[in-house]
């Protein structure tokens, strides 16, 4: 008969945890994890309350405009509201943010976000399960662009790796939107293919663009990447329908400290991805496993 003392059992548990965390591949334990939606009864109201409190107090906190500037803006907005009122009926048709998804809308299902990563990573949890036809590696979208990829899914929840997570990598393309009074034209910038990777804390970064391809240098012969340009997904390993989805907007361009010939381009998604309340999962498209982005991410890690 074996008699285990508590200390032996505890050390055994710690050893198993160490094995799982530091040695075994993380995917191995994924089937055991999928409890995210179980916490929805607590996390969803908490999120709603925290979100409304944040909206109420944070907006005032950030506003540093002068009073005159606010008055001018109010005047402009009054004119704008008047001109827009005639278009209200048309706008109602596209009021739902997800109508902006366009042709992929029928391939997607909307899911509520129950919370974000309680640890240090960039992920969100969905009230979705494998019974909803949600599978690993399916793209997750919002009306403003790509949100991330389904990392794992179980009977009681799904976890989405955001495009800002440090393990997220895709290739993309720089684009610039030139607007005039009648139309907005998209211009693709002829640069090296940017390798886009999550940087954590709600940011994305691009490290492989040479300084001479950016607006930091003043070579007038080339179209340079500048602050305010957009980055969109252009990756053959992702489903073609998702190609061209926006990843974010260039926020800053600086010289890399370790590689002076290259730029450090910081990109911010168009939305605060961790604060989304609903997302669309592209779960009605049968993507061959080999073409999924999940494999690419795994391959590049």
């Amino acid at each position: 008969m074996f008699h285990f003392k508590f200390n032996q059992v505890f050390v055994g548990l710690i050893a198993l945890a160490f094995l799982s965390a530091f040695i075994l591949p993380p995917d191995l334990s994924n089937p055991l994890r999928g409890l995210q939606a179980l916490f929805a009864p607590v996390s969803r109201p908490t999120r709603a309350i925290a979100g409304s409190l944040h909206d109420r107090f944070a907006a005032n906190h950030r506003d540093t405009r002068e009073a005159d500037q606010v008055k001018d803006e109010n005047e402009q907005l009054r004119v704008l509201v008047m001109s827009l009122s005639g278009q209200l009926q048309e706008l109602k048709r596209v009021a739902n943010d997800f109508d902006r998804l366009g042709d992929v809308r029928p391939l997607c299902t909307r899911f509520k976000v129950v919370g974000d990563d309680p640890g240090t990573r960039d992920s969100i949890m969905l009230a979705a399960s494998s019974r909803d036809q949600v599978k690993e590696s399916q793209p997750v979208l919002s009306g403003q662009g790509l949100v991330g990829i389904v990392e794992r899914v179980g009977q009681a929840g799904a976890q989405v790796r955001l495009i800002t997570d440090k393990d997220f990598k895709v290739s993309g393309q720089f684009v610039r939107f030139n607007s005039n009074k009648t139309e907005t034209r998209e211009q693709t910038l002829a640069t090296t293919i940017p390798l886009v990777r999550g940087a954590g804390k709600g940011q994305i970064e691009i490290l492989n663009i040479q300084l001479k391809e950016t607006a930091l240098t003043d070579d007038p012969l080339k179209e340079k990447v500048a602050v305010g340009d957009y980055v969109k997904l252009e990756d053959p390993l992702w489903p073609p329908n998702v190609s061209g989805r926006l990843l974010g907007r260039v926020e800053s361009i600086t010289q890399q400290s370790g590689a002076p010939q290259h730029a450090l381009i910081r990109v911010r998604p168009l939305l605060e991805l961790k604060r989304l309340r609903e997302v669309m999962v592209m779960n009605k498209l049968d993507v061959p496993e080999a073409q999924t982005a999940g494999e690419k991410s795994a391959g590049t890690n």
Binding site: F10, A17, S20, A21, R33, L35, R47, D117, G119
Partner: protein, 165 residues
């Protein structure tokens, strides 16, 4: 320790942490309080040693199920916090706010160190500034959270093993 109360505590702590999420971040480092860690400390300062250690491990394991980090990381981190807290049981005044602040800060640093080491070894690296900021933030809210939990201490039926003299 009454298991029902323990499970409710784990459920609420993790549910609140998930829901509060990014909205609770402050400062440039993106620090946020770790309510789950405070639940570990609450168990650690009140429960008998064995129950406290198993409880800390269990809370970490449940948190592991809801994060992108590999399974076992927070189980190890919170077990170490549990060990540290249990070791201070006889040395500190459990209901004193200063105790809560110190344990919240030290516990956060300890758990953060495990996450940082994991990041350095396996990647992606975690942010030192965020960890330190979160430790400070957790320490600040610790007296409030642990004070509230102390009010519900009776529901846990913590019992200490009688000392042999």
């Amino acid at each position: 320790m009454r298991l029902t109360a323990y499970f409710i505590l784990v459920y609420l702590a993790i549910g609140l942490q998930i829901g509060m999420g990014d909205f609770a971040r402050v400062g440039g480092s993106g620090a946020r309080p770790d309510l789950v860690l405070l639940a570990v400390i609450f168990i650690g300062i009140h429960a008998p040693r064995d129950a406290a250690l198993l409880g800390a491990f269990g809370i970490g394991l449940v948190k592991d199920m809801t994060t992108l980090s590999p399974l076992g990381l927070y189980a190890i981190a919170y077990s170490l916090v549990g060990l540290f807290t249990v070791s201070t049981q006889e040395l500190v005044y459990r209901a004193h706010p200063v105790t809560h602040i110190m344990l919240g800060f030290a516990g956060s640093l300890l758990a953060g160190a495990v996450v940082l080491i994991h990041g350095w070894i396996k990647g992606p690296p975690a942010s030192l500034a965020e960890m330190f900021g979160s430790a400070l933030f957790t320490a600040v809210v610790a007296p409030v959270v642990l004070g509230l939990l102390n009010l519900a201490r009776g529901a846990f039926s913590f019992r200490r093993r009688a000392r042999m003299h």
